[in-house]
């Protein structure tokens, strides 16, 4: 096994590059300052409340984990289902996964009231809690991703000095199928459990349904690979070097389009059963409150359905569009935005509807309200800065696209 290191490259200082790093620096600075204030003053500086205790940050967690789902989907395709021609994209998918999961963990640490106790789920187990299971799966899966990514790291010139370490790193190839199986299992578990986090809460009628975990996992499987595909195209545009065969990216787009159609199908029946036919007093009241106090319907039909489903399905599946890389990136962006809007809608809408437990008929709790505070947006911008920074460095220093045999 001989790995040929790519020649050392240097950043040519250009105005564009300075501006780019300026932007990243600014985002990171905003994020750090916001994080400092959150840690110093506590979550009181967020706009979260006892009636809406989860908000923008949870949306970021859920979205970035869904967008990182390309890693397990493509690994499974290549190493379990033997679709070897997807192999050139696996490294990038794993990298996108690493970024997605680390972003989620970063945001999660900001979101919990006691960041100093972040390790408690590993020591104090509650096997009945989906959130416990999610914490375990996410950390396990991040470990799997990092192991899967080791061969890429050891190819960097840094390891020219330690050929033995490099060989050790490359030996991971031999266990790649095992890692893919483990990754698939763990991912299937937590991607759906994230939906179950809402789906098992019986007190909230618009959450409590078995379709919740299914919709979460299928949307993640649909959007994750599309996100990876879009990243590949964007890297190609930025660096001007061909990354992956375009016909491969087109196949990914078709796959995502079909998965989105399956997602639409389940979403349709979910809508029919829960919102249209059920007429259960709880759900009916909840939708009434939502349409009265929030732009829920607009967010659902325009954000989730039109932007998140119709646009990407058309761009991914109609041959006239999916031959055009620009349309593929546009479709992936629309689908990703749709996922973010969906995760926001699920989280915030379910919480805005007040609980109804009063024995009488006169009193009802007021609907909750929530718009993220400056500090919350600040942390969100910081996470975006981190994502951009990581990608910039990776594109420059890491062999994300294997040449020849991997």
């Amino acid at each position: 096994m001989t790995a040929i290191s790519p020649p050392r490259k240097r950043f040519g200082i250009t105005l564009g590059l300075v501006a780019w790093f300026g932007l990243i620096g600014l985002l990171l600075l905003i994020g750090l300052v916001s994080a400092f204030f959150v840690l110093r003053d506590g979550l009181v500086i967020t706009n979260l409340s006892d009636s809406v205790p989860w908000g923008l940050w949870i949306t970021i967690d859920l979205s970035s984990i869904a967008l990182g789902a390309g890693a397990f989907t493509l690994s499974a395709m290549v190493y379990i289902f033997g679709l070897k021609h997807f192999r050139p994209l696996v490294r990038l998918a794993v990298f996108v996964g690493v970024i997605g999961y680390t972003s989620a963990l970063l945001t999660l640490v900001m979101d919990i009231g006691r960041p100093d106790r972040f390790w408690h789920p590993w020591v104090y187990w509650n096997v009945h809690s989906v959130l416990w299971e999610i914490t375990w799966c996410i950390t396990l899966y991040l470990t799997i991703l990092l192991v899967e990514f080791t061969p890429v790291i050891v190819e960097t010139p840094l390891f020219d000095r330690w050929p033995r370490l490099r060989r050790l790193g490359h030996s991971i190839h031999r266990v790649a199928p095992a890692l893919a199986v483990a990754g698939l299992l763990v991912s299937l578990l937590h991607q759906s459990s994230l939906g179950a986090t809402y789906g098992i809460i019986k007190a909230r009628p618009i959450w409590f349904k078995p379709s919740m975990p299914i919709m979460f996992i299928i949307s993640a499987v649909a959007v994750g690979p599309a996100a990876t595909m879009a990243v590949a195209l964007i890297i190609e545009w930025v660096t001007g070097r061909k990354t992956v065969d375009h016909s491969l990216l087109r196949t990914i787009a078709r796959f995502s389009g079909l998965a989105l159609l399956i997602y639409t199908y389940i979403k349709f029946w979910d809508l029919a059963a829960v919102s249209y036919y059920a007429h259960s007093p709880g759900a009916e009241r909840a939708f009434e409150i939502l349409s009265k106090h929030t732009p829920y319907s607009f967010g659902f039909w325009v954000g989730e359905v039109f932007i998140g489903l119709v646009v990407p399905v058309v761009l991914f599946l109609v041959p006239r569009f999916n031959r055009n890389p620009l349309a593929l990136v546009g479709g992936a962006l629309a689908a990703s935005l749709g996922i973010v809007i969906n995760r926001w809608n699920v989280t915030v809408s379910g919480l805005v509807v007040p609980q109804d437990y009063f024995p009488g008929s006169g009193y009802q709790l007021a609907p909750g309200s929530y718009t993220p505070s400056l500090a919350e947006w600040g942390v969100a911008l910081g996470v975006i800065g981190y994502i951009l920074f990581a990608f910039t460095l990776a594109v420059h220093f890491l062999p994300l696209f294997p040449k020849g045999v991997d």
Binding site: D41, L48, W125, Y357, F358, G360
Partner: protein, 278 residues
């Protein structure tokens, strides 16, 4: 796999221990002298002896604490809220006990109040990723403030809105102290969720002293003690002779959102409906 843990962990250093032990010993002596001792002016308030059966029940661990709230009696004075907030040092804007004006289906005005319902199938307990909240063997749903990571999933899962998060380190002065009582437990730190404990600290200490919670005021939740119209009654649901069991047997009672299967330990006697006469 035991989901129910009996012990509540409290960390003390030697000085705190000495202080608390001293105070406790002092108060015990004082309480003894004042209530049952030779100088007691309250002859009639003398605590009753525990019957042999009761002693056996307690020894066997057949305890399940519960409460009956008679909404027909409640006058909406909010004394329960105030005494609770003083004794448990609760933030004034996030009371553990709430009192609301409500109406029956026929429009009769009444007052609804709610502590934590101490569900036996508590949704908050199921969802906690670190078992920081659990159902004790005696049925009380309690928090381990040393373990909570502040994810707030329990708050999201509780159907009754009975949990509150400490969004900031509290520096407020408790407006209910000392008029309505003095704090008997520590303030909760920033970043953890807190909730009503049925005044578990009183129950635990009381049982050690051989008192009967629900009957002896020292061992009874503050909200029950202070109620001026006896709308709240506390006791052992597993003991058929306790006042709560007898009230439940002789009245029609409801529990909140019984359709959810949470098995709350708080029973409500509903207010009478309006007379339909002219």
């Amino acid at each position: 796999m035991s989901r129910k843990r009996k012990r509540v962990q409290v960390r003390l250093n030697r000085r705190d221990f000495a202080k608390i032990a001293g105070t406790a010993a002092g108060s015990a002596v004082a309480a003894y002298l004042v209530t049952t001792g030779p100088f007691s002016p309250f002859g009639s308030l003398k605590r009753k002896q525990i019957s042999p059966e009761e002693q056996e029940t307690i020894a066997r661990g057949e305890l399940r604490w519960g409460m009956v709230i008679n909404l027909d009696k409640c006058i909406g004075c909010e004394y329960c809220l105030r005494a609770c907030s003083a004794v448990n040092d609760v933030a004034p804007d996030k009371p553990w006990n709430i009192v609301m004006e409500d109406r029956t289906r026929t429009g009769r005005r009444y007052f609804f109040s709610r502590p934590c319902l101490h569900c036996q199938h508590a949704p908050c307990v199921d969802v906690c990723p670190v078992q920081a909240t659990y159902v004790r063997e005696d049925g009380i749903v309690i928090m381990d403030y040393e373990r909570c990571i502040g994810c707030r999933y329990c708050e999201v899962a509780c159907p009754y809105d009975a949990r509150k998060f400490n969004w900031e380190a509290r520096k407020d002065e408790n407006p209910y102290v000392p008029t309505w009582g003095t704090p008997e437990v520590e303030r909760r730190p920033r970043g953890v969720v807190e909730k009503c404990t049925f005044c578990a600290h009183r129950i635990d200490k009381g049982l050690e002293k051989g008192l009967v919670p629900g009957r002896d005021w020292e061992a009874t939740p503050a909200c029950v003690n202070i109620c001026p119209v006896d709308a709240r009654v506390f006791g052992n649901l597993n003991d058929p002779n306790s006042q709560v069991s007898r009230l439940i047997a002789s009245n029609s009672t409801v529990r909140l959102r019984e359709d959810l299967g949470t098995e709350p330990s708080v029973y409500y006697i509903m207010p009478r409906e309006q007379e339909l006469s002219s």
